[in-house]
Symmetry: C2
Subunit: 581 residues, 2 copies
């Protein structure tokens, strides 16, 4: 039994932690467990998106955080000669969160030209700070000053895998000690994000503060797989767009980027063994990735606590492969069909396995691999009959089952990957589908229930299609993945994914189409709130403001897809006008 | 007579430069001069947006640019103990352009976790590069390799003011020397931008190259004021959004951010002498700037060669001031009017002068200051009569003239600023308006002609309102500021500005509403192309791709405002689908 390594923090009794020491992998997988004690009326937890699991005790003091002197303290092991792998993750996170804690003081370096004015401004700032604190003392409020965030991590080497312990404890003492304690660096990242949302800038005092100290937050996710599908094939997404998306995901504690890479329209994934695939299959010469681009995105995601699960959709959605490899298709299919499907033969399986072996070695290190299997154009297989291993497959269903079974066994057995399929593999190829296959459900929630009852682990995407521009965040917020799942099967629901299919978006409008609806999904998956969207609206408005301040182009909450902001109303007061009467 | 300090570059005879040595300040101000020799059929100049003025000779060689070894060489003076101010601008630019030259190799540091794979990839890259170059040799093409960009600047101290010399020469020799020569660092920035657009990545060779060497580009802007108005008052724009806008402006060689800061709706500009203005007048507590935020934006802009001209709109569009300073208004106006106008009295002028003195000292260092004067709600002054200095002002026109005259003389005479007004100041207060006032024209082009014939310098914004969502880039491209201006007055037209008024946009959709239409305006102002938008479409599509690759959310060129991309068409081939037949 692992537990968080939480230090005694003077002024706060942390012995209650024993009662909840098991949050972590067990709780993570038990989606049925509801948060026990948060309260939307609680001002403190109400300021964090997604909602944290537990807050106590919530005092009335204020902690000033000194932006000039603040630093992050890594665990002692990070000072060793050969620091564990997680230290690098923390080091990058410290750099990011220093800027996110103190957004009005992020670019010190760039101010040297204006040094003289700055000195003036700093002096004036100090004067006002002193006055403000004198006012507070007169009014009897508790004021401490903090200049460090201590980060304690028990296991600095835990890899970022499905179900890794993402729990953390965030304690702010009456003396001003700020401590993030976590089992893994991935939990520490979540704790730093929470803390960053609690640091507030006071324009009058010109300083940063945390309110309602002392307090202790214990938090952990309800579902281990909290994802976003992006589709770089319907419209190409340059690496910088993917990175900005990943950064925004980390603000909402999402942890899986499902990267839908290949499609009928375009093949932009590079291969060193088969460069012709992208050379001929990409929509245009420049709209594809280099191996280094992909590695860089995966690495960037890792540093933000986001796994990258690649999807190579097959046997349908593969027309772009035919540009360089027509031999993967029946001649009759090439001649007859607008959308193609791979020929389900051993040669094709061998070719695909070779490619997957390359990609899972060179670029995609995650345990999971998505092999699509949705919307196979069966007309492409009309009249086709395949005989292999003494068996003959001649109906579309038989051919599909044959494909799914073989590619599963190669990806799972040979390449040692856990395989995710779209729900067609369950609905149409169930007879040949091993229970280890994970089913991503888009068609309805009943299929999610059936899949987990058949022994599969499953992901919900029904209700979370972000390309449905008329669906607003409320429905997405209220879409509980386990609402219709039998109690004893709830742990089979790993979580879900918002799906930002690429037909209607490209780099110009992807962000406001995703956000803030993706934030609603993120809270559903992290917090499993017992309350509905009605209780979340003002908090979501505030989170949208945070996203805007951090450079994420999140649309107004009043609209679903892409429309102009309504009236002069701005993010924090969606209501009335700001005009003088 | 100043001239560019251009070194002899072996392999290229640069003596022709003498013939054009006067490009610079004189040409800058002479908007009537058309580019002499660019040709849209010219492949080289066709790859740069906005069009460059002159290209010669355009060989057929290819220069490989070694991304691993490439560095920028600053002028020798930058190595001195106390380098001139411009060296810091270059130093920042070198960092940015290293990433922009080599976008697929921008994040070396983040790759250490994947080191082993990288070594593999690099080896494979080297093998392919060798093969590619062997192929080239067989085919008799010229291949050189470059590993440095030399930047020569004559005057490293020239401040970024209206009309500063932004000309540059970019020479790439047959031996692979890349040289940007400019009179000022601001010209060097434009040259680096041009060069960055000519470095192309070859996915097959996995290397960067510049084609059609040797060549020499001579370039300079047609108009010295190439601006964008942003409106952070109708909807708040966080500093990061302003910075990303400034960065994108630099890609299009725009050089003025006109920052519309105060409005009826909100007062987000900080003042150390009057903090109550923003404390009470901001739309919400967090939707305002700190002094440091503003300084940081101004500094960021400076490093990108972008001047910041603040607008404090008055005497109308000032309702938000009344929240903290009702004494600036007639009581009758406060009671009667929805939109307010300042009382045109000496007390008010004194108060405003004090504020402007603070702001132009602490934050806004540009020579220019914009004092609005548009759309004054005259109903606010109904029945008002002011007597000052022995004169009585009682009609709205008299009161408006009195306001404009006084505020001009304070800003110009006392604060030593050049003052810009909206065209109302010319149309309605002409009798009292000194010729030194610059007129920004929004109502029609005839007013632009009238203003310059009356002796004013002027800016065009008519036709360039980016909040007109149904107007597409073509009309903006074809909107020539000097088309209807008499020949001898053309130099009075300083340029113009795209206006991104804030009613319909906020941080979520500002970028795709501006871009790519703002790029069309940028080319009109930099290049004064003799050709129309019809000849620019494919080039604009390519520039839009560049913007997307650099993270700017530029909308498809086929639409005007914000709509979904059309069909599966992506940026480089807006036409047909990518599906197999």
């Amino acid at each position: 039994m692992r537990r968080c390594d939480v230090q005694e923090t003077s002024g706060l009794n942390l012995s209650q932690l024993d009662a909840t020491e098991e949050f972590g992998i067990l709780l993570l997988r038990a989606a049925a467990v509801r948060p026990s004690s948060y309260d939307l009326r609680d001002q403190l937890s109400g300021r964090v998106w997604p909602l944290v699991r537990r807050v106590e005790p919530g005092g009335s003091g204020t902690l000033t955080v000194d932006h000039d002197r603040h630093s992050f303290h890594a665990p002692a092991a990070c000072a060793s000669h050969e620091p564990p792998a997680g230290c690098r993750v923390l080091q990058h996170a410290f750099r990011r969160y220093q800027a996110l804690f103190f957004p009005h003081h992020a670019d010190v370096e760039s101010l040297s030209l204006l040094q003289e004015d700055m000195i003036h401004a700093l002096n004036s700032s100090l004067r006002r700070l002193r006055k403000h604190r004198a006012d507070d003392r007169q009014q009897g409020r508790l004021i401490s000053t903090a200049s460090a965030t201590d980060v304690e991590v028990k296991d600095l080497a835990a890899p970022l895998d499905l179900g890794v312990n993402e729990s953390y404890e965030l304690a702010v003492s009456i003396q001003g000690q700020m401590t993030v304690s976590a089992q893994t660096v991935w939990g520490a990242l979540r704790g730093l994000e929470t803390l960053s949302q609690l640091v507030e800038y006071n324009f009058t005092a010109e300083s940063y503060a945390i309110h309602e100290i002392p307090f202790r937050i214990q938090d952990s996710p309800s579902f281990p797989h909290r994802g976003l599908l992006v589709d770089s094939a319907r419209h190409f997404l340059p690496p910088i767009r993917l990175k900005r998306t990943i950064e925004a995901m980390s603000f909402a504690k999402l942890n899986v980027l499902h990267w839908h890479l290949t499609e009928d329209e375009s093949f932009s994934m590079p291969s060193s063994s088969h460069p012709e695939l992208a050379e001929k299959g990409a929509w245009s010469a420049d709209e594809r990735y280099t191996i280094r681009d992909v590695q860089d995105v995966v690495e960037f995601a890792q540093l933000h606590g986001v796994r990258v699960v690649p999807e190579f959709d097959m046997p349908g959605h593969v027309s772009s492969w035919s540009k360089s490899h027509p031999e993967l298709f029946e001649q009759a299919c090439l001649e007859r069909s607008r959308r193609l499907a791979f020929k389900p033969t051993k040669d094709v399986f061998d070719f695909l396995q070779g490619l997957l072996a390359e990609w899972t070695t060179s670029t995609f290190h995650d345990q999971f691999l998505h092999l699509g299997s949705d919307e196979v154009p069966f007309e492409c297989w009309k009249g086709l009959s395949i005989s292999e291993g003494g068996k003959t497959y001649s109906t579309p269903t038989q051919l599909f089952q044959h494909f799914v079974k073989n590619m599963f066994s190669r990806a799972h057995g040979q390449l040692n990957r856990s395989v995710i399929f779209w729900d067609e593999a369950f609905v149409s190829a169930r007879a040949e589908l091993p229970a280890e296959a994970v089913i991503q459900v888009w068609r309805d929630k009943a299929t999610l229930s059936r899949a987990v009852q058949a022994g599969h682990r499953a992901l919900l995407s029904w209700g979370w299609y972000l390309d449905h521009l008329d669906e607003d965040w409320r429905g997405m917020y209220d879409n509980d993945p386990v609402a219709e799942v039998p109690e004893d099967k709830k742990e089979k629901v790993l979580g879900g994914e918002g799906c930002m299919w690429g037909e209607t978006v490209d780099g110009s409008d992807q962000a406001p189409t995703m956000w803030p609806r993706l934030a609603a999904i993120a809270e559903r998956l992290w917090s499993s709130p017992a309350s509905s969207s009605a209780a979340a609206e003002s908090r979501l408005n505030a989170f949208r403001c945070l996203l805007l301040r951090r450079g994420v182009a999140a649309a107004p909450t009043q609209v679903s897809g892409r429309r102009a902001p309504i009236g002069p109303g701005s993010c924090e007061q969606p209501g009335g006008p700001g005009l003088a009467a």
